[in-house]
Symmetry: C3
Subunit: 418 residues, 3 copies
């Protein structure tokens, strides 16, 4: 039972207008069923959502289905080799057309009354129809889709945010060298976190809690977004290692013409993003105990594994790590006010051979552990903010990316409600 002791019926307008900058959001943003629906409709229903990679649909007819709240979308490669997204709803009586999470089809056939659609969504055949039946207006409804250097985004709105292509232009030079189109899925893992999707995102946007991630900080510098004066004495030696590693990475990137500087437009546009290539600790190659490469076959045409971590955030629901040897993608989908699905996908070069070039257990170990730790933190936060005694507290300066995420979120709610 959730309840707001003093304000059973506070409105979203009121909540938005009294938000205290630099402080965590009030409880209803995380616990209200009504606000969870608003988030689905206004945030997930109107923005570009990261849902998967082209590595999952490599041949014409390959598809995966993705559920976003009440929507089900078929993402597939059509017969023209284009990535396409279709509403997974039969135009006859509404049956879900494809019920498997992934597969490969010639045509798309509904299992109820055998209405048959092409991979472009057009209705090809429906039995027992009258003479005036017009299949041309009964194709599967199209969903906006973008392939950003191998990352697949959909937008469920009729009119998607227009700035996606601008963002793609900025981000593509960072991603292209990793050549995701030539990767395959080494592993994919869904976990259900017991917390609001915004807590999952906020948790990802700071490393103030990174002491809880011993596996991750073996290679990941936990100084992400720290300014020098915020550092505790304990972290000063880490900063020195970071700065040294950064100089080396800068030299490497200069030689290979890899962009690495921060580009950050998180809360100043609908398709907010942040991209940066950062050094890794120790061997500096990949995630793992000694930070050595986890896949012998490198991505793209890379000739060195020491290219650090290309980190990408996209509003509202994704983050990514692109390394020389593999890439990891994270897609966040709300299931209810208090439950969120996190899908993690590990990509390796399409020619990498399991057991020879990489081991799935070793490849996935750090983020499996980190996800689990984060899930526990998210759950305890969800439990806490559900109390009527909770009030927003002050972010530390090291949590500036959390503030950026929240600021974007509030702006978008205000904009779509205006």
């Amino acid at each position: 039972m959730t309840i707001n002791q003093t304000e059973p019926h506070v409105s979203l307008d009121e909540l938005l207008s009294r938000r205290k900058p630099g402080h965590s959001l009030e409880g209803p943003f995380y616990t209200s069923d009504q606000l969870a629906e608003t988030d689905l409709r206004e945030i997930f229903g109107r923005h570009w959502i990261f849902v998967g990679t082209t590595a999952e649909i490599r041949e014409p007819g390959d598809y995966f289905t993705v559920t976003v709240g009440p929507w089900s979308v078929i993402v597939l490669r059509d017969d023209e080799d284009e990535v396409r997204a279709l509403h997974n709803v039969c135009r006859h009586r509404g049956a879900r057309v494809l019920t498997e999470p992934r597969g490969s089809v010639g045509n798309i056939v509904c299992g109820y009354h055998k209405w048959t659609y092409g991979t472009d969504g057009a209705l090809l055949h429906a039995e027992s129809q009258p003479a005036d039946f017009d299949p041309s207006c009964l194709g599967l409804r199209q969903v906006h889709v973008r392939d950003l250097a191998g990352l697949v985004f959909v937008c469920l709105a009729d009119e998607p945010p227009a700035d996606f292509d601008e963002v793609a232009q900025v981000v593509t030079p960072y991603l292209e060298p990793h050549q995701l189109h030539r990767t395959k899925v080494a592993a994919q893992l869904d976990i259900i976190e017991q917390g609001n999707w915004k807590l999952v995102m906020e948790n990802n946007r700071e490393c103030y809690h990174c002491d809880e991630h011993p596996e991750l900080i073996a290679s990941f510098f936990p100084i992400f977004a720290y300014s020098e004066e915020d550092l505790t004495p304990r972290l000063r030696p880490v900063l020195e290692r970071y700065q040294k590693a950064n100089v080396a990475l800068q030299e490497e990137c200069r030689l290979r013409r890899l962009p690495m500087e921060v580009r950050e437009e998180v809360d100043t546009r609908p398709t907010g993003f942040r991209v940066e290539r950062m050094p890794l600790d120790r061997s500096g190659e990949s995630f793992g105990e000694d930070a050595r490469a986890l896949c012998r076959k490198l991505l793209g045409d890379f000739t060195t594994p020491r290219l650090g971590d290309l980190s990408l955030h996209l509003q509202p629901n994704s983050w990514f790590h692109f390394l020389a040897d593999h890439a990891v993608t994270f897609s966040v989908i709300p299931l209810s006010a208090g439950q969120t699905r996190l899908r993690t996908t590990w990509l390796v070069h399409e020619d990498a051979v399991e057991g020879i070039d990489y081991e799935v257990d070793a490849l996935t170990a750090v983020w499996r552990a980190t996800n689990e730790q984060d899930g526990a933190l998210v759950a305890r936060t969800q439990a806490g903010v559900s109390s009527p005694a909770y009030e927003g507290g002050p972010y530390s300066p090291t949590e500036n990316q959390v503030e950026a995420f929240v600021s974007w979120y509030l702006q978008r709610l205000r904009a779509t409600m205006a």
Copy 2:
């Protein structure tokens, strides 16, 4: 999480007024919690609901309890040998009086404070009461009940639809020869389907999907409600077999004075119905691989097993198949917007002996399989119509009974809301 992207707060009035005839209903009819309550209150709370058979309560004191939404009703045979229905709510502090699904009682005793009622519902005894305590106005509340040739219907409203007896008059001559009062329950099975109750009913009202039922169409002609011009070439030979079998059945019925012609008043009265005796394929006797009788002891005084399938539909929640050798009844009860209980009951002659005259597995095989297949179809439809991208699509002419069901439903909502 369900959500209607474009119309979070569409009213029932609006939904009713914009319904497009010949098209499937809009999503909220299947997914809205509020509309599920409306259905319970206006459809299940005000119409005659099929709940069971007299074969389940053969001796005075025999009872079964039935749950319809929040209501619990005791259906029993009273000491006067009459079928009676009582609210299963103690008049003291409201405890559920009988907690078992079926049984036999002398008096009806509440297990909380031992208030004791007769089988007619009258309060016979309550301990520790003051001198002015008047038991006469504290009997179990009565529920309207009808025994239609062995089929038990209840109506939870104070004033039930007045046309039940007219319908009974039409239907009884069809049912009487099967003599359900001389049957017993061979098997009963409850399944929970993951869809709105209307999807369960709609699915039953067409055979456009019958290719999904290989076991059923071994004996059941899948041309139910098809007109000749709707038939696909594939079905033409089936139609020829059907017509031939029909002629033979007509002759059989003429000899035995069994009515068989269609009587259909589905959406023109509160107690909508459709009744028809139809031939069966192959041996033409019963459901099953070769359509041979599944119970050696025939119902009533029948002397031949080749009497086809007497099919009866009743609005809002039931359908029936009466064969020469057995009968199957189906009762549909909503559990929530997205869940429905289907109770299937197989009846055989009261003198039939299990293991000699019939085997339960063989008797029930076809409808166990068919129910399961239908359950999967209903579930995929519920999933699909939950999408904000769903819009009602056109019924095929072969789905005219679906349209009749939907038309009845909408008329009844309009009538009760007027």
Copy 3:
């Protein structure tokens, strides 16, 4: 699915104004989600709630956490040896600070970002903060708490009912001789009952149903709150035994200066209560088959086990039995409209040794059985009152304490809503 057939939107005001005295409450009081929230906010959020005993927090730093609806409260003994209650919500981003049900701490450290609080709740340390960070206003929020002779009550409101200390003054002389501060927890058991919290309380407030409790009435006179004229012939010999035992207990109490007369102010004040020392049947010492003491080491400085049962009720959520050899406490917390947690705690003298002075199984047997029986009665009542056919029925005179409970409840709702 719950539904009120005739009144889908009845208001609380309307329900309050038409309540029929001496009759059980209408259905929505037990089934409405909205009313369950009202109960949480107005009853559990504004009154003194029994949550545990000082026997559970004997040393500084010892704590237990208690969940009341959306609230989580840390009850602990602070470094000054005082009982203290704190909201279990970090002042940073709202994480639940302590996630275990009980334990012992030096400081209270949040597991998310290591914010560190003293046992008095003051924020002692938070890493990476700006120069102007002021920890003094970021301590854990305090909850009102009282230690009533070893029983711990909290009040979640800013301004708790002012009459608690008056009640404590009346009740303390009854409790003190049992010296709960010198007890320890022998056993504790949580059960989830499938009914509204008020049904759990109402069930406890009468012995009209005590025939369902064979284990309990081996020692407990089932004539609690009966007047002589209400007694059925069957109970007359019990009354005679009771009266004889009462005379003996009066003599015992006079000698030892133990108060035993009824003090009852249930529905005449916010902190309603009833206290009375009553004799026990048979050996008259404790609960159990022959009513002999279940713990050899008696509580406090008692020298005889024949001190009957000191029975205490407190509104809204507790009851207690204090015997010469042990004490049992009962704390009732709503989980939802239809689910309630009952926590039962058995206390024995701190020096009693398990296996020598007492056996846990024997000590707890009667109330384990009684709780389970009551849980079944509550569940069948919840099921029954959910029916739209339910209407409040008349209490028997023997249910006068149920009426007192209900009367208190309605008065408090009216008062807090005024």
